[in-house]
Each structure stands twice: as C-alpha cells, then as structure tokens.
Amino acid sequence: MTVAVNTEETGKRIAEAIPGSVVSSDKGSLIVDSKALAQIADFLKNTPGMEFDYLTVLTAADYLDYFEVVYRLVSLKNNQSLILKTRVYGRENLSLPSVTPVWRAAYYQEREIFDLLGIKFEGHPDLRRLLLWEGFNGHPLRRDYL
C-alpha cells in the first residue's frame, strides 16, 4: 500500500517553488491554479523527495460553476500517493495545460475528458474524441447534457 502524503506540507513546498500556484491546501485536498499546472507537474515528478512518477487516475467532475480535474499520483520510489486537483471555470472554450509530456499515462484519459466533458488540453499530441465518434454533438458527462 502507498501512504498518502500530507497535502498541507506538499502544498507549502509547491507554493515555495512556484509562488502563487496553490489555491488551497488543507488536510484533505490540494487544489492548484490551472495556469501553473504544467510547472507543478514537472516539479512533482522531478523534485527529490517527491518523485511522483506514476499517474494512476486522471478524471474530472462537473460542479456547474466549475469543472474539477483530479490527478491521482503515485511515487513508486517513495511509496507515496497524492491527489492533486485543479479547477476550470466557465462552460465554453475550457482549456487546461496537458500533462501528457510529463506522464504518458495521461494520453488516453485526457482524450476521454475532452470527449465527455469538453475540456481542451493544450499541448496534447493528438487530442481527438476517444469513446464517441467524430461529429457527435455535445459532451455527455456534463450535467446540463440531455
């Protein structure tokens, strides 16, 4: 079993390295600014003591005011896990930096999120629909989809 790291301390370390990037970090969750996501991903993967080299889950949820994208990271070296969240506000033309260059596992899951929730991932090598076909109208996992 991996051990969940203290999100409060991790948030402080990220805020020291990249000022202004952490929106909130308490005992339960770590929410970061979506603009600095690529930098944070690089920081989490390559900083000694963290080395989150394995992205197990990348998913997203619709809260009507904003979309929350959740990254579940595991460090195989240090046997630790971390849940990182970020928020995208609005309904149209949503975009988020891609983490595929950092974690290759994000490739299909970012495509799935783009397909079902309509969030564009900037820097993704091949952002196409995954589960639905080209020409499908709408994004079915949005809460206003009928």
Binding site: L131, L132, W133, F136, P140
Partner: protein, 201 residues
C-alpha cells in the same frame, strides 16, 4: 423362421444336439441364399439414398453451423459456459468456434453494441459468406436493454443488421441460448438450396 430348440438336460446331450444340427447344416448345404437386391445396379445398390436435395442440404446446414463469437459484454460468459462440456454446444455441430467471419455461418452477438462499435459489427457481418444467420443474445443486443435511452448504445442490434433469433435475458442462461439455437435449426430446415432464409419472404 422356426427356432430349433433341442430337448436336452445335460451338457453332454447339448453337445450331441449341437453336433447333429451342424451335420444337418453341412448335409443340406447346396448353394447360398440369393441376394434380394441382386436386380439393382451395383453402384446404386451401395449408394442409394431417397430424399429431396433441399432437405439434405438444409439438414447438412443445420447440423454444421460454425459460430462466430462477437462477445462484447457479460453475455459472452454465458456463451463460453454454453460451449463448455456441461452444456455442450458441439453436439449441435457448433464445436469449431470461428474467429474469422470468412469461415463462420452464424454470428452470436452477445452483449451491448455501442454506436462506436456498430461499423465494426456491420463489417464483420458483411464479411460472412452466405448463407449466414445472426443470433442476438441478451437484453442489450435484443433491444438496447437498460441502456436503450443512452446516447452511445445501439437500441437493438437489428438497427444495423438483420437478426434471425432473439434470446432475451440479462444475461440468458446457457439453456436459453440452446433454445435459441434450436429455433435457428427449425428455421434453417425450412430453407431451400437457393433461398436459405425462406422464412424471410
């Protein structure tokens, strides 16, 4: 023919009676009994079979339907169970499960078909040589099932290809699948040599 039963009480007497009978056979033997079918031509005599061509072809088709499995969901496990030794699909001539549509006769669609999967399913159906049949197994393949209202699920596989037999259930037990295969047999024997799907008319 009269049955010869010698009146004997000891093994020695039985041996004596046997000997007498064998001697009488030997004495009375002059020539072999004539063959009652001697008037027939030799080739016909060995190969005669009286039927119609349609019935013979339909019987052969019915007893050797190679299945193409198209298991997309949980119903596939019932199909696997049905082809195992307990339910024994091979007794219907379905023992060779084909993964190539070119060599298959019946397509077993066992599971949900999504719209993304529909072109692949239709292409496999088109690749099967005539005569071909389709069995839709399970609620999803029959009508879309629970996912009928969904944006991504085909509401019944008959939207994309003609279906011969529907086997309802979620999932249907192997007995239900065998019942569906029996129904398909009943349909195949009605067909003729040039129109295998006679009941479609």
């Amino acid at each position: 023919m009269e049955i010869i039963r010698p009146d004997v009480s000891t093994p020695q007497e039985a041996d004596l009676a046997d000997g007498k009978l064998i001697n009488s056979f030997n004495d009375n033997f002059t020539s072999a009994y004539p063959d009652p079918d001697k008037w027939l031509d030799e080739e016909i005599h060995r190969n005669i079979l009286l039927t119609t061509v349609d019935a013979a072809v339909a019987w052969a088709r019915q007893r050797s339907i190679f299945p193409l499995i198209f298991g997309t969901a949980c119903c596939a496990f019932e199909m696997i169970a049905a082809s195992g030794p307990r339910f024994d699909l091979p007794r219907f001539g379905m023992d060779i499960i084909r993964f190539s549509p070119r060599q298959a006769d019946v397509m077993l669609i066992t599971g949900t078909i999504t719209w993304k999967m529909a072109p692949a399913a239709r292409m496999i159906y088109d690749q099967m040589p005539e005569p071909k049949w389709v069995i839709a197994v399970g609620a999803c393949a029959v009508s879309g099932g629970t996912f009928r209202e969904s944006y991504s699920v085909v509401p019944g596989v008959n939207c994309i290809m003609p279906v011969d037999v529907y086997v309802p259930g979620c999932p249907p037990r192997p007995e239900a699948m065998i019942h569906g295969i029996n129904k398909l047999h009943a349909k195949i024997v009605k067909g003729t040599i040039d129109n295998p799907n006679l009941s479609l008319k």
